[in-house]
């Protein structure tokens, strides 16, 4: 870090941010039913991971994602983990992420979560904790990729002086992951369209992988196969779809009938094994906040290993002794609604008024399965540049784990920080910013 002070990267923050704006590095959010696009503020001070630290995280993340993939196959097939009562059945079947339509389907190469976004924080005790697994359509890899590209352009000396693992290899890694499950034909990136929050990322990744970026009207099912129709009307078979459309909207014949961004029968082709959908539909059953509690148990159950990375200490009010603990320690816990995502549905016991607390306690007693409670982790602050100086802010790390022929952890990641000094919530939809994550070469 001292060495970096002498380099000019930090002075170029404004240049990098204006370039990011010009390249359209934005994310969209819906507020009061209207679509807003926001810039995603970039902070030039990177999060730096040493080789040793990265290797430790890599080992733990690979273990976790491997267990999650085994779990997904088991749940939609034999259900041994339910037979052996490691997870109570009702946590599966009452989960909104469980899709009965996926029962018995064999995804190519038995991979469900090809791209996993695992959110971690580092505590003040320097221990890393897993906050959340994102196995549906995790986004965010494009931001550190393009930020790195622009930083290298703005301050080449920095990267001559410091040897950082090149994160621009993500596109090749992603492409290899997709080709590994491709059943024969094109690989495409399928976007809901430009009004999606992560449209920048969809177009950027398609461009970097040199594969077509398509919407629903470019895809068509015929005779058990999926085809891409190009501008001239020529049809070409598609073998792998990196779909950035959520399960609900993927196929009006199998999921929400009112979806206008879906491809009719794409799921039927997938069921026949004639196309890979990446990530597989139905993954929500494994990244539900209620299931999170059981991930360490999955690692022990499927891999017969001790979990390397730990969850934040979590309580399930579903279990009586946990409920008692939650009621006793309410003010020191953070409560999460398992059905919500993106930083919504997260409340701190200490910040509730007496009335809110009473209401919440009533809710948690009537619907214990709906909530989890966690200890508030005092996590490490990272410095950010503000008004010419440096201030400390809460930050997390989204690591990207790609499961293809091997399970690989991308040597970078999205570091998100809260701009509000009092907030622990770093989600971009809540107004946070981002940093690049550097993995040093030595």
């Amino acid at each position: 870090m001292d060495m970096m002070e002498s380099l000019d990267l930090f002075e170029r923050t404004d240049v990098v941010n204006s370039l990011l704006a010009r390249y359209g590095v934005k994310f969209g959010i819906y507020k009061n039913n209207t679509f807003h696009e926001q810039l995603f503020p970039f902070d030039a001070i990177p999060r730096i991971l040493s080789v040793q630290e990265f290797e430790y995280l890599e080992k733990g993340l690979r273990q976790r994602v491997d267990a999650l993939n085994l779990f997904l196959w088991d749940i939609y097939n034999k259900k041994h983990i339910l037979r052996d009562k490691v997870i109570p059945e009702e946590f599966i079947y009452a989960s909104s992420g469980y899709l009965a339509q996926c029962e018995g389907i064999q995804p190519p190469k038995a991979i469900y979560s090809h791209i996993s976004g695992i959110d971690l924080v580092q505590g003040k005790d320097s221990e890393w904790y897993i906050l959340e697994d994102n196995l549906r359509v995790p986004s965010g890899a494009s931001y550190p990729m393009i930020a790195r590209e622009l930083c290298r352009r703005s301050s080449p000396r920095t990267f001559q002086a410091i040897s950082v693992a090149d994160n621009r290899a993500y596109a090749d890694l992603l492409k290899r992951t997709l080709e590994h499950v491709n059943t024969g034909g094109l690989t495409v990136v399928y976007t809901p369209g430009r009004y999606n929050a992560a449209y920048f990322e969809h177009s950027y990744l398609a461009e970097k992988m040199r594969v077509p970026l398509v919407t629903c009207s470019d895809l068509e099912v015929e005779n058990d196969r999926l085809y891409f129709k190009d501008y001239s009307g020529k049809k070409e078979q598609v073998g792998a779809v990196y779909r950035r459309v959520s399960d609900d909207f993927l196929d009006p014949m199998n999921f929400r009938q009112d979806s206008l961004i879906g491809v009719p029968h794409i799921f039927d082709v997938y069921r026949k094994g004639n196309v890979a959908l990446v990530n597989a539909p139905g993954n929500g059953v494994a990244d539900d906040k209620g299931i999170y509690y059981f991930v360490p148990k999955m690692i022990e159950y499927y891999l017969e290993q001790e979990p390397i990375l730990h969850n934040a200490p979590t309580y399930l009010p579903y279990y009586r002794q946990d409920m008692e603990y939650v009621l006793e320690h309410f003010d020191s816990l953070v409560l999460k609604d398992v059905a919500e995502a993106g930083g919504y549905g997260v409340t701190f016991g200490s910040s509730m008024t007496a009335g809110q607390k009473e209401e919440f306690l009533r809710l948690i007693k009537s619907e214990p399965r709906r909530f989890i409670a966690q200890e508030v982790i005092d996590f490490c602050d990272l410095p950010i540049l503000e008004k010419g100086g440096k201030v400390d802010r809460k930050a997390d790390l989204r690591a990207f784990v790609l499961s293809g022929e091997e399970t690989v952890v991308w040597k970078s990641g999205l570091t998100r920080f809260s701009r509000n000094p009092d907030s622990f919530i770093v989600n971009s939809s809540q107004g946070g910013g981002f940093k690049d994550t550097w993995v040093l070469n030595q």
């Binding site: 259900k79 037979r83 079947y93 339509q101 029962e103 026949k272």
Partner: protein, 287 residues
């Protein structure tokens, strides 16, 4: 979906030692008020052989079509999907065939821990105050087994619910139907499912055909000692050799006989007719 047939002998015959051969015809027509194009469809009207029913012959026709594919869904039902792009104002599905019933009354189920999805309530079976109250009245006593208890729910429902065509729609929940006190076979089935699930009995919704002339029918299967047993709450009987099963799922939505999306602005008129007759000869000529 209705299917109440009054003049049918649906008494359950213990042992069911005589086999019945049933000739069936299912006919679905969707008339569009204006031509439509790019019509994708999924049709789930193909009966399958199992221990209880043997489908000797079946001929399914779908018009118009450009391509058709067949597969099995996650519940084990056979379905056909396809698309037709040119303009059309009629979509017509027929399934004709011969079924043999009466060998056994139940079918084998997988392992109990694999049937959990049939234990969870769905939005259509979710118990509100009325269903919870009915369960309190019917379910909180007795040391009967799961099948006896399900039959007790069925008898209890018969006393409190009456058949009335057209009084409910496809989106009517079990709770809403029970509150108004009348409905059709779909509502009877959803209420019985809700009661059985409150009692912890895995159970599923069944779409099928019943001897006579009418529309398609719906009933319930409950899991008892590793086997699925059919209960027909609309007629307050156990499922007999007069029932031909088409599909099953957690509720009505898993068993939609026809689904479609198309381009065009048109009103749809759907008409369904089902005919099932017993073949008088023993059917030896059709194997």
């Amino acid at each position: 979906m209705t299917g109440r047939l009054r003049r049918v002998r649906v008494r359950y015959r213990k042992g069911m030692d005589t086999l019945k051969t049933l000739r069936f015809r299912y006919d679905l027509k969707i008339e569009f008020s204006a031509p439509v194009t790019h019509h994708s469809f999924t049709v789930k009207c193909v009966a399958q052989s199992d221990e209880r029913q043997q489908i000797l012959r079946q001929d399914v026709r779908i018009l118009p079509k450009e391509f058709l594919s067949q597969n099995q869904d996650s519940f084990g039902n056979s379905y056909i999907f396809g698309r037709t792009d040119p303009e059309h104002d009629l979509f017509h599905v027929t399934a004709e065939g011969l079924a043999r019933t009466g060998a056994v009354e139940s079918t084998a189920a997988g392992e109990g821990y694999q049937q959990g999805m049939y234990l969870a309530q769905t939005p259509l079976t979710w118990p509100g105050p009325n269903l919870r109250h009915l369960f309190d009245v019917l379910g909180r006593y007795g040391r009967d087994d799961t099948l006896e208890r399900s039959l007790r729910f069925q008898m209890g429902l018969r006393e409190r619910f009456s058949y009335e065509k057209g009084s409910t729609g496809i989106g009517t929940t079990a709770e809403e139907a029970l509150a108004q006190g009348h409905g059709v076979c779909q509502d009877y089935s959803h209420i019985l499912l809700s009661l059985c699930r409150q009692a912890g009995i895995p159970c599923r919704y069944v779409v099928g055909m019943l001897i006579g002339e009418g529309a398609s029918h719906a009933w319930v299967e409950v899991l008892h000692q590793g086997r699925w047993y059919g209960l027909d709450p609309t007629n307050a009987v156990r499922v007999t050799d007069s029932h031909i099963k088409i599909s099953h799922g957690r509720d009505y939505n898993d068993c939609l006989i026809n689904q479609g999306v198309f381009t065009g602005s048109a009103a749809q008129k759907q008409s369904v007719s089902v005919q099932v007759y017993e073949e008088q000869e023993k059917g030896s000529d059709v194997i």
